[in-house]
Subunit: 246 residues, 3 copies
């Protein structure tokens, strides 16, 4: 296996989309690209991450599996500098990461782990309600909501996205209307509402910043699907709802 | 009650002048403006804070009392963004804070507390010595002094302000002369000297920054009076002296 | 004794070159300049620091010894501001530090300690291999290496500097070739290799930043000698190698 990506910093950012949720996991370097499907340790959220072959400057692989301590992998990736490219190779039970820029070449070798593959299959849910908005609108919402509770209720209607948060500490209501400048697209059939744990939503969104668009798919009391592109990779998440019994 | 202030960020800054000293307190929304008189929990310092009606873009109130967890109030206020205005309303036993900017509207509702009113009366002391100087000159003094002791001795003479700090760790002397560029005004009758706990002085000054002017009123072994304007509000403080018995 | 240095901030930076390694120590204000020779508490590294008389704006001293809590000395020095000069004087068992800028004058007095002088003599080693490179190239190397181990192996050859780091966590190899833009000079006779503890190397380099040049002298399994100029002072270090027994 030999994969090169032209920006070491960009590659690190893309992997952040996985690493904020998953501690260790199996990347698969298939013919069509690099991917990872994993659930967080508490099995409340799932990430489906893929970097298509085409965004690499070099891509050679025959179905290799890379079991990695993702936290450590991320720390090594963060050593990449702006003007460097990164190359990933395997050598027996190790992953070789080479940073190259100017005259200098830095080579890290880190252990590949023998992980048992979890059974992670993408849920097949038909979503009829979605909204695409800039990442920071959602990030701000999460930060607002954290002041009040550990959960957030999202309500998607043809008029826009409404967030409702309630606890003994107080209450929060935010309306992001469909003609708000943060909203890029909205498509709502019957509308939907569901509650989600803020901590997971925050981890999912940690790699998405600024005005980069994020798409939310919502069905009443079903998992939230959230996806965004990051440095040419696609990060797709499912987050289990919190069913409120009253 | 309904009060609107054109800058949510500015309003948060003004409330910081209270919140660094007091954990919970009763704001009063009288006809003439919003105010709070409170002592810190250890009763060493008093803050008298007032925002006149005129600096609000909208002001309607008939003597309402708002008992608040000021620390939490501040956290919510900090969620305000640069281009937003803020509106405060009451609804039964809750305070409604609405941030509005562009198309978006965010509404926080936080509990009003049923606090017993402390007996806080502004001390009637006649001050004959005062100096007005830029906030950072005093802030720097506090930071210098903290390296040596937990108390600072302030000496005001017609020549300027002198700070003396002594402990086993060493000694500090700073002279801010009357023609120092940090001094805006000085008016000294007989001169005065007194010692004060640095931690309180630091909390009092936390909201005053940069070249904003601060006025100190000093009488020998009497409370320090310190006041400054912040975002149209007036923050006035009294700080008990430490009487040195030798 | 009376020493004045035109930039209080610059003086603080120079003393940082000592203070990151040594907790307390004896500065000597000899006729030719201010100096300190000390070993770190664990006796693994030695610093030989000197500020020649000529870089002071005023220098009067007859062999005074200043025993100092260097950590506290540094904290006081950090209170210096950009436009201030600093003057050091002794008064009985105290060191007087005066910061002056504009109209204001701040005087700190801190205790002089009665330290027993350690026997610190500069090792007499003949070095035949050296490389001069920008500080950040070495700083980056240290940060890379810390991800893998607590020690780093440096290999100096006519081709350049090679760093090798190995542990159970992985492996790192970095080549800084002789024509790398970070390399200012290289002079290698037979080549040399030795291993050093990263924590000490990091402390030694803490005051050296950016593109400032640093010279490394290396002999196989002998102490590393490292030196750099900082604000007109010369900071020279020796760091004991870690002898690997296999």
């Amino acid at each position: 296996m030999r994969l090169s990506y032209s920006s070491a910093v960009g590659f690190a950012r893309a992997i952040d989309a996985v690493g904020n949720l998953v501690d260790e996991g199996q990347f698969k370097a298939k013919k069509e690209g690099l991917s990872l499907v994993a659930m967080d340790p508490s099995q409340i959220s799932m990430v489906i991450f893929s970097m298509p072959k085409g965004i690499f400057s070099e891509y050679q692989s025959e179905n290799e599996v890379l079991g990695l301590d993702i936290d450590y992998f991320k720390k090594v990736l963060r050593r990449g500098k702006t003007d460097e490219k990164i190359t990933l190779e395997t050598e027996e039970n190790r992953l070789i990461l080479t940073f190259e820029g100017g005259k200098r070449k830095r080579t890290f070798k880190i252990p590949l782990l023998d992980l048992t593959e979890g059974v992670s299959k993408e849920p097949s849910i038909e979503y009829n309600n979605r909204i695409k908005l800039v990442a920071d609108a959602l990030n701000e919402l999460i930060n607002d909501a954290k002041l009040i509770s550990t959960h957030i209720r999202l309500v998607l209607t043809p008029d826009g996205l409404r967030a409702e948060v309630k606890s003994e500490s107080g209450e929060l209501n935010v309306d992001i209307e469909k003609d708000d400048e943060a909203v890029a697209e909205i498509s709502v059939e019957n509308g939907a509402r569901a509650s989600f744990p803020l901590q997971y939503l925050e981890d999912i969104m940690k790699a998405a910043k600024g005005t980069e668009p994020v798409t939310l798919y919502l069905e009443t009391d079903r998992p939230l699907k959230l996806e965004y592109n990051i440095e040419g990779a696609l990060a797709k998440y499912y987050l289990a709802p919190r069913i409120e019994t009253e």
